[in-house]
């Protein structure tokens, strides 16, 4: 049980580190700390 927990934590930690590093360098990465835009800066949506 202890061994399983140790290995599980190692695998989760490894995947977390790789995922965050890849997301930081990838051009298609998702921004995690995006703040909501203030209403005054929002662009009006134009009808097509």
């Amino acid at each position: 049980m202890k061994r399983f927990l140790r290995e599980a934590v190692a695998l989760i930690g490894l995947s977390l580190i790789i995922a965050l590093l890849y997301n930081a360098v990838s051009p298609s990465g998702i921004r995690l700390n995006r703040k909501p835009m203030p209403a005054s800066q929002e662009q009006p949506v134009q009808a097509r």
């Binding site: 599980a8 190692a10 695998l11 977390l16 298609s28 998702i30």
Partner: protein
Amino acid sequence: MASVIVVVARIIIGAIFLISGLAKISDPARFILTLREFRLFPEVIVPFTSIWLPWFELIIGLSVLVGLLHRTSALMLACLNAGFLAAILSVIVRGIEVDCGCFGMLADMLGLPDMADMKAVVRNIVFIGLCLLISFSRSKVLTLEHYICVREKQR
């Protein structure tokens, strides 16, 4: 004979999750939309989950395939699949028709059905069975762990 079945199960499960992880990593925007469509997670954790989950699938899939920490990885895959199963059942019960997002853009490329329906439920149950088989088997045939043990003994 039992060892052969475990090796075949490892190849099937490992390859499926490796490919599934790669397909999701290559198109993160699509995966984030799929997670939102499920309406299960709070918006705060959706971006984080969409970044981490594909890599988690890829790493534990690779681990099962090569046979390094494969028993732990298989047990974690069984838990992951149980989570997917619960998510799919919840959208079926709520009557929401969504793409299950299991294979990302690969499903479109190959024209595979990828809806969150009863077929996906059955597929997940089969995956859970195979993962538990790998996890509870003590077979070390064709594993990297076995190779490392042999090398250690030779020294």
